[in-house]
């Protein structure tokens, strides 16, 4: 009889445990907003530095969901976030034009770099980034692509197009689409001695560089702009417009912009604020 009672108590306890989390998050953080953002900003450690400053000042907790830019935009379009902070300007402008977002503002930029093994002289010696990509394709050297419709992937595809190369024809050959986040793709590149296009911030913060180094940088085409958008409260009435706008205002303010500039890894600044 005692054992039966214990069993019943155990089941009741587990059921209570199951019910608990439904109540907890609401109580723990009454004020929070959800930001749909990218793996590159999260992997660089920027949010770990930036968000506590904002939360300290306003009492608003910021919850970041870090996925590829393509998925972040889709999630935001579904209303699963209050703010969109990504890096694919044409897609962002379409998001606003479709009435899914209120307006778009530049936040910061950094640049893309090509990383990989030191071997191919023609890559580093190229006149521009298109020449570097051509050299990789001509040599049939392995190249690890995000392949996930992220901001970085979109930027990479624009560059291939400009270079008049269709790398997907060689998909599975020298062109390897990982379908993963930035860090995961860099791990793949490190593992197979491949080249990859990455944002500089993720690269600097990346801990598993192995024998890889920056083999090409500096072309203006490699500019990487981040923008911020308030998800439309008209489209999605549950959007916490006021708190979300407070976050956007802050990140675009002098204080927020200065905080972005202050974030450094190994003494190197990762993002360059450029709000107007």
């Amino acid at each position: 009889m005692l054992r039966r009672t214990l069993l019943a108590a155990g089941i009741a306890g587990l059921a209570a445990l199951a019910a608990l989390p439904a109540a907890l998050p609401a109580a723990a953080a009454d004020r929070f907003i959800t930001v749909q953002s990218t793996t590159s900003t999260q992997n660089s450690g920027l949010y770990d530095y930036l968000l506590p400053i904002f939360t300290e000042k306003t009492g608003i907790e910021v919850r970041v969901v870090a996925v590829g830019t393509g998925q972040a935009i889709k999630n935001a379009a579904n209303g699963d976030g209050d703010v969109l902070l990504v890096h694919a300007k044409p897609a962002e402008e379409k998001f606003v034009a479709d009435g899914l977002g209120v307006s778009r503002s530049d936040v910061m930029y950094n640049d893309f770099v090509i990383v990989g093994p030191a071997g191919l002289e023609a890559v580093s010696a190229a006149n521009d980034v298109l020449g570097a990509l051509k050299a990789i394709a001509d040599a049939g050297a392995p190249f690890a692509s995000r392949g996930d419709d992220s901001g970085t992937h979109k930027a990479e595809m624009r560059l291939w197009k400009a270079a008049e190369i269709d790398p997907t024809a060689a998909s599975g050959g020298w062109y390897r689409e990982t379908g993963s986040g930035m860090g995961a793709t860099l791990n793949v590149a490190a593992g197979m001695g491949a080249y990859a296009l990455t944002d500089r911030a993720t690269w600097i913060a990346f801990e598993n560089k192995g024998d890889m180094q920056i083999v090409y940088e500096g072309d203006p085409r490699l500019f990487n702009q981040y923008g911020v958008i308030l998800v439309s409260p008209e489209k999605h009435p549950h959007v916490k417009a006021e708190d979300a706008q407070a976050f956007i205002d802050w990140i675009l303010s002098e204080e927020g912009q200065a905080a972005i500039a202050d974030y450094k890894v190994d003494g190197q600044q990762l993002f360059f604020p450029n709000a107007e």
Binding site: L14, P21, A22, V65, N78, D80, H238
Partner: protein, 234 residues
């Protein structure tokens, strides 16, 4: 890096995490234990009913449960995401990116496992006890209750199988939880994140903690199963 160095580094890093690590481990346990509790509430009676009763749709349910044992976590996560997204039918509840969403996704993932394995355990017991229970005039539910209690040790192992799957999966909780720091970050999503940052040492350390956790839970349940019984000799 030498593999031993990697492990030493892993432990050092994990040790330093202290408070964050406790939070992450705690959430992992809360989410996965809750999912096992819910899956058991559904799967134990359902599996037992599938084993002992004949009703319309039974065959479909058995095939379904068996097939869904192999459900990829990402698919379970995606299905739950589509339900809980603001654009989905349950969107107004605002459950996406909460531990509750993660519990739901893992429950979807492991209920078929608990159901299918329970059906097998109870069906085997019914071969032995079914006629005796009918002689005694046990009603359908009394028969199910007796067989479930009779199979409690095997069913404890079934629950452990479900818990193991829940604790180990990353695809479902990543999609519906979002891996939000201090809110929905669990062991597996933290491991995925550290791996993507290239922090392979820390990722491995977290993986080791997860493994130790699994061993501890299994040992605990094993001890509980042995204690109250004289083991059978015949």
């Amino acid at each position: 890096m030498d593999i031993l160095d990697t492990f030493a580094e892993a432990f050092r890093l994990v040790w330093r995490l202290d408070a964050d690590l406790v939070e992450i481990v705690g959430l992992s346990l809360r989410v996965s234990l809750s999912a096992v509790a819910l899956a058991s509430l559904i799967g134990l009676p359902l599996g037992a009913a599938l084993a002992t009763r004949r009703f319309p749709g039974r065959g479909v349910l058995i095939i379904g449960a068996n097939a869904l044992m192999g459900l990829p976590p990402v698919v379970a996560g995606l299905a739950v995401y589509l339900m809980l997204s603001r654009a989905g039918p349950l969107g107004p509840l605002g459950l996406l990116y909460t531990p509750t969403a993660m519990i739901i996704a893992q429950t979807v993932l492991i209920t078929p496992i608990v159901t299918a394995l329970t059906r097998q355990v109870v069906a085997d017991l019914d071969v032995r006890h079914g006629e005796q229970l009918r002689i005694m005039g046990a009603s359908g539910w009394a028969r199910i209750g007796t067989l479930l209690y009779e199979g409690r040790h095997a069913l404890g192992t079934v629950a452990l199988a479900g818990l193991g799957r829940a604790l180990a999966e990353v695809g479902a909780v990543m999609i519906v939880g979002g891996n939000i720091d201090h809110v929905t970050r669990v062991m597996t999503t933290a491991i995925a994140l550290e791996t993507s940052k290239g922090n392979l040492g820390l990722a491995l350390g977290l993986g080791t903690v997860l493994l130790i956790l699994a061993v501890a839970i299994n040992a605990g349940v094993g001890a509980m199963q042995r204690r109250p019984q004289v083991r059978a000799h015949g």
